[in-house]
Structures are given as structure tokens and as C-alpha cells.
């Protein structure tokens, strides 16, 4: 199971313009909803924001990974937003988030959900990789980079 199988060009926004993390999350949920219908979009948004209240998913180094397991999706869904300016995310290190991966997983499937989370963290675990993603001019470049990284594993 690879990340590239779950993310396509329509799920990537390379110029994510948002003034808050709530807005950024909402925009990425919209992208997933347009690609794979979410049963109850508002509920999913509420679940994601509730999760953020408990503990921010801003994991530092300019990366955020809002995520939730929900009964409102039937399969793993991922969207990526790239913000050159950065979005305040109450991150672990206080830095704004530039790479925001949004991950939704069905309640019944924790294995693939955790696998995807691990693959995303591997994709952004070095500065060189994060820079490469930040410099992507279009979704196609992002996909190409993800596929290259997967081939190297």
C-alpha cells in the first residue's frame, strides 16, 4: 500500500491560501469530498476540529497532519495543501505549517490508516524532502516526487 495510490492531482492544492487552520482543514475536506463523496462533510469537519482541540496535529518543521478515523468515509482519503506563507497551526515547535496533509480513514481500518500516516511522516522527515515539496509548481510535480521517494524505499 503506497501513498501515491491514494493521492491524485485533484487532491493537491499547491497554493493553499488560508488565514487559519480551520479554513485550511475545511478547504482540504472540500477537495476530498469533491473526489470521493463524504457521507457527512460537516460531521467530519467537526471531528477533525475536535481532534485539534485535544492536541494539535502541527508536528513541527512546517508540517501538519490533521487526521481522524470516521464512519463518514469508506476508504482512506488524503489531501495535501501547500502554503508558501505558512498557516498558524499551534505546532509543536511554534512554527507555521507549510505542508498540510489531511488524512481520513474508516473506523474499521486502523492498519492502513497508520501505514499511510507513517508514509506521510517519512515523506517529510528531512528538510530536503520538505523543500522539494514546497517548491513544487503544480500537483503533477508533487505526485512525481512521491513516486520517486516510494521507488527509493
Amino acid at each position: 500500500m503506497t501513498l501515491s495510490k491514494f493521492i491524485d492531482k485533484s487532491l493537491i492544492e499547491v497554493n493553499l491560501a488560508s488565514s487559519s487552520k480551520e479554513e485550511a482543514i475545511s478547504k482540504l475536506v472540500d477537495r476530498i469530498d469533491r473526489r470521493t463523496k463524504i457521507v457527512d462533510k460537516k460531521k467530519v469537519l467537526d471531528e477533525l476540529l475536535e481532534r485539534e482541540k485535544g492536541m494539535s496535529t502541527g508536528i513541527g518543521e512546517g508540517v501538519a497532519l490533521p487526521h481522524v478515523r470516521t464512519s463518514n468515509v469508506s476508504k482512506i482519503s488524503i489531501a495535501l495543501g501547500i502554503s508558501k506563507e505558512g498557516i498558524e497551526f499551534n505546532s509543536f515547535d511554534g512554527k507555521p505549517a507549510h505542508l498540510i496533509f489531511l488524512l481520513l480513514g474508516p473506523n474499521s481500518d486502523n492498519e492502513n490508516y497508520l501505514t499511510m500516516m507513517a508514509q506521510i511522516t517519512k515523506l517529510v522527515c528531512t528538510e530536503r524532502k520538505r523543500e522539494k515539496l514546497l517548491q513544487a509548481r503544480d500537483p503533477k510535480e508533487v505526485i512525481q516526487f512521491i513516486i520517486e521517494m516510494e521507488a527509493m524505499r
Binding site: M1, R51, G54, M55, T57, I59, G60, V63, L65, H67, V68, R69, F92, N107, S108, N110, E111, Y113, L114, T115, M117, A118, T121, K122, V124, C125, T126
Partner: protein
């Protein structure tokens, strides 16, 4: 011999928002095999086991390898340290828990608990009334009952 007579009712539980760090601390401190995850109304949402915690740091392709005796160096299989650190910051009980949980009711026979543990190769079974957790029964409890 009913489950109700041997189950432990005073069970340590996890809320779905319990952080990975706190869960690890609990498992390090105590000898649990698994802990139930419940909501505010004590409805059983899932369980987190030691195996679930370990799985996070083992590459997925490991499960495909039948024979590990030929592997001399496991270094390449170790998850990148930075990535593991990020995972630890991200995860809560609700992310890790298994939701397909084998349960039993308090009025069940102890022999049913034995049969379920053997069939599913598990050491602990949450005891429920409807959706609510009322206790757990473990192999240790069964041994106390039968030996």
C-alpha cells in the same frame, strides 16, 4: 461458572484522545496486554494492545517475510528516527485502537471465554452490557477459576 464471578470490574481505560506518550507510559508501568478505549459514557470503542503499539514501528512488508533467519542486518528496516518521532506526536488512542473487538457478556459461561481466547488467540476479553464496558476477563482470571 459465569464470567461475572471472575471478571475484573475496576478496569483502567483509555479515552480516544489519550496521547501516544501517555499510553506508552501506562504500558511500561503495568503489565497489561491491552487496554479498552471508551467514550464518556463508557461505551466500548476499541482496544489498544501491546502488539498495536509495536506494529506502528515495524515496516508493513515485514508481515510478508516468512523466514527471517536469512536477514543478517535489520538496520535498513528500522523506521527513520525523525519519522518515528513525528508519529509519536501525532497519535492518540483513537488512531491506534482496533475496533473489531471480541467481547463477551457477564452472564456468559467461563467456558465461552476460554473458547474465544483459544479461537482468536487473545489474552483478554472486554465484558460488555450492550455497548458499555462492565469489566474484563483475562487468562489470569480464568486460571484463578479453573486451577
Amino acid at each position: 461458572m459465569k464470567v461475572a464471578n471472575y471478571m475484573v470490574e475496576d478496569v483502567i481505560t483509555l479515552s480516544p484522545n489519550k496521547s501516544f506518550e501517555e499510553i506508552l507510559a501506562l504500558f511500561r508501568r503495568e503489565s497489561f496486554d491491552c487496554l479498552p478505549v471508551v467514550d464518556n459514557e463508557r461505551r466500548l470503542l476499541g482496544v489498544v494492545s501491546r502488539t498495536d503499539l509495536l506494529k506502528i514501528f515495524v515496516p508493513e512488508y515485514f508481515a510478508l517475510i516468512d523466514d527471517i533467519s536469512f536477514i543478517k542486518d535489520f538496520g535498513a528496516m528500522e523506521v527513520d528516527h525523525k519519522s518515528a518521532e513525528m508519529m509519536e506526536r501525532l497519535l492518540v488512542a483513537g488512531d491506534i485502537m482496533t475496533t473489531k473487538v471480541i467481547t463477551i457478556t457477564a452472564d456468559s459461561s467461563l467456558f465461552k471465554a476460554v473458547a474465544l481466547m483459544r479461537k482468536y488467540n487473545i489474552r483478554v476479553i472486554p465484558v460488555v452490557e450492550g455497548e458499555k464496558l462492565v469489566g474484563i476477563i483475562s487468562r489470569t482470571d480464568l486460571m484463578k477459576a479453573f486451577l
